[in-house]
Every structure is written in structure tokens, then in C-alpha cells.
Subunit: 168 residues, 3 copies
């Protein structure tokens, strides 16, 4: 049965691991949509480590920007893990794209999942107000996007130290 | 029935929207106590956007500092939304006022709500320890104030991506 | 009955106070394992204030680094409060020690509590990604450690404005 699950959590809160665990409980193949871009060594190392942890029936689609299109191309009924929204948002901000239009497009697709679709994102709004305006804008945009995804999701999980807390 | 509700959440977690939604479920008029000061363009723009979203029986009282007095002047039985505590605290810190005395005064009034009173505040303590001493002091003061308000509140809600999680 | 409780929360979220309250509900004496080091005035002041709040049957063991050894030396059946993991991790990072080895050692001891053991730690991963690489590494290491402690804990509490939210 198609449904949308939104997994939100802080850094290293076990979001991806929990999402992968949910995916592997379903019949494969499992589509991993990666929004990360290997622009520097730190990111390359993170991406590599994550890839090594996914074995079996996983296949990866890279979609740093064209997330809505990537989702449209996934076969009906196939489980999908989108990891993660905050990086997708960062990529669009750095590219100077129209975030309102991009978010609208993405939400259109997420509103009608064609399988079990899991969206992972980082909570970034619970620290001190950042010094620089770009970071403030980013956390505003991220927070608004999270609210909109949560509003249309069937399930919302908030990760605390690797443990999923069901908030919806 | 008079009661105090405390809504805590990160930036753009949907605190104000949820509070306004709760208010509008009650008979008006609804008193909005704004602690924000329009000191720069970014704040002016935020305040303006928020005001445009509130229509109908809302009226606004500005209380960047004198929050206890503003609450005392609200008619009995009227719903009140205080938005938000963290800005009020910021204003007092910047003014160099005695935070202990100010908090004591505020808590005295909040302890005896004369209607449905809703207090909104920002969670700021879940990031990395800030570099500068002022930010560290601010998050300490905010955290302590939040604990004291939560202790006397009838309801405490923690917002996660626009969804209220009832913690008390 | 021996059990491990993990209390996670932001700055000034009431973690230590709640842990002390849980401890004082048990028969004493109560062992307080402090990981804080009084390296500057701010820390000295914090440590002093915390000590003054603990009276009665409390005794303090200082273990800025050798936490596993300190736990092994606690008498069977005695309640223990470890306050806090994030400072212990900071101390090992600053000392340039092997965090993987240190964490493994600590987890070995925590896996077999010999009384009611309470571990307190700071959530640091829910703000904006920090600018500097050391802070990023720290929040990664803290997040991973929190997940591992939570996985073996009998109870996991997430503190929100002084109110414990049971997540496990």
C-alpha cells in the first residue's frame, strides 16, 4: 500500500539507519535516491561509508537537484528512500534556484506516493540563531519544507539517539 | 476555564501557527502580545508577514519588555497569545536588565492565568555549544526560563515539523 | 534491580535535576561521577553551583577520562549518576585519545550495570551544521555514542523544558 513516511532527526540520530531498516523489511529492489554531492573529501568519505553499508537489493539514483523527476521515474510499487531533504535544499540554495517553485514541484510528487516512500531530513532549527544570514535563511526554508512534508505524510518519526518517536 | 499552555519548538517548527489555530478555536477577541521589536529590515519583514496572517478578531499589544504588565491589563476570560518568550528574554538581555527579577515578575502573572493563555518560545539549546559567551548565557537563561514556565503550565507542547507533541 | 537509564536533552533542559531526583528516590549513598574538569572560571562556577545543590548522601567521584574504571569501582547495588557523556567525550577528543577504543570500553561496562545507573548527556546535533570541522566531528561522535548507549539502555528519556519524555 503506497504511503509516505517522513523521518526527521538531528545529526547522527540514526535517521538513515532506521529508514534503511524499514526499507529492508519490504520486498526489494529498494531505490535509494541520494541528494548528496561529493564536492569535497569529507562528503566523499561520508557517501562512500553509507554506500558500503547498503548491500543486497539496493540501487542508487543520484538526484542532487532533480528530485521530483527522479521520483517520477521510480517503478510503481517500489520502496524508495530519499536521503536527504536538507542536502537537496542546500544544493538548490547554492545553485540560486527558486525554492518556492522547487518545493511546490516536489510536494506535488510526494502527495501521491506510488509505493512505500520514505523521506529523511535533518532537524537544524533547535540551536542558537546562527550569526550569518544565509544560515538563518536556510534553517527557515528547511523548517517550512519540513512542516509541509509532515503535513502530507502518513507517518512522521522524530529520531532521538537512534530511537524513533512517532509524532504522527 | 483559565489555563496556561506552553508551546516550545525550534525555528520554523510551526509554533505560532499552531498557537493561532488554538486561539481561533475559542471565542474572540484574541489578544496577541508581540515581544518582537522591528529593529532591522529582517525583523520588520517577519513581523509584517506574521501580522498579515492574523485576521478577524485579533488585536495586538506590543510588549518587548513589559510583558507582565501587558498580561495584567488583559480583560478576564480573554484568550491571549504571547509570542515569544525568547525575544522578550533577548530584549531584556540587550537592555542589561535584571533577568532574575524580570522572570520572577513574569512567572507571578503566568501562575494565575485569567483565561486561556498560550506562551510560545524557541528551543535554542540542542545545537553545539556556541563559541561566544553571550550566546551561551542566553541559551542557559532561555533553558531555565522554559523549565520554570513548563513547570507551572497546564499543557506543554513540543513542536516537531508543525506537529504538536504533548509532553505534559 | 540493576538497570541503565539514559537521559538526553539540550542545554538547561533539566537533565541533571531530573537524574538527581530519580537517584534520591532510591536508598543511598548515591555516587555522582563527574566528568567535568574545572579548566576555566565558567566551568569552575558551574561545577561549584552543581555541587552545592547536591546534599545528603551524595559522594562525588571525578572521572574526566577514566569513566569505565570509575564505574567498575562502584560497589554493587549502589545508584550511580554519570554526568555527563558529552564532557567525557570532549575530554578524550582534546586529549587526542582513540575514541573508538574508549567508547568500546565504556559500553562494555554500561552493558552490565550493577545497580540503578543513570547516564546524562547533551543533545548537540539539532542545530545548523557547525562551521568548523572539529565541532562537526564532535557532534558526529556524540550522536553515534548516544545511539549506542540508547540501544543498550533499559530506559531512554528525552528532556523537554524539564519534562522527561519517555522514548524507550
Amino acid at each position: 500500500m503506497p504511503e509516505l513516511t517522513f523521518i526527521l532527526g538531528g545529526a547522527r540520530s540514526g535517521k538513515s539507519a532506521h529508514a534503511e531498516c524499514l526499507m529492508e523489511g519490504l520486498p526489494g529492489p529498494w531505490c535509494y535516491i541520494a541528494t548528496a554531492q561529493a564536492l569535497d573529501d569529507e562528503m566523499r568519505e561520508r557517501i562512500g561509508r553509507h554506500q558500503q553499508q547498503r548491500v543486497g537489493e539496493w540501487y542508487t539514483v543520484e538526484a542532487p537537484l532533480e528530485l521530483a523527476a527522479a521520483l517520477r521515474s521510480v517503478p510503481d510499487g517500489q520502496p524508495v528512500l530519499i536521503d536527504c531533504l536538507t542536502l537537496w535544499l542546500t544544493n538548490h540554495m547554492l545553485a540560486g534556484n527558486d525554492l518556492t517553485a522547487e518545493a511546490a514541484q516536489l510536494l506535488d510528487v510526494l502527495r501521491e506516493p506510488r509505493g512505500v516512500w520514505i523521506v529523511v531530513s535533518n532537524e537544524v532549527g533547535q540551536g542558537i540563531v546562527p550569526d550569518n544570514a544565509l544560515a538563518r535563511r536556510f534553517r527557515d526554508e528547511a523548517g517550512r519544507l519540513h512542516q509541509r512534508v509532515a503535513a502530507i505524510a502518513d507517518n512522521v518519526l522524530f529520531m532521538v539517539a537512534g530511537i524513533p518517536l512517532k509524532v504522527k
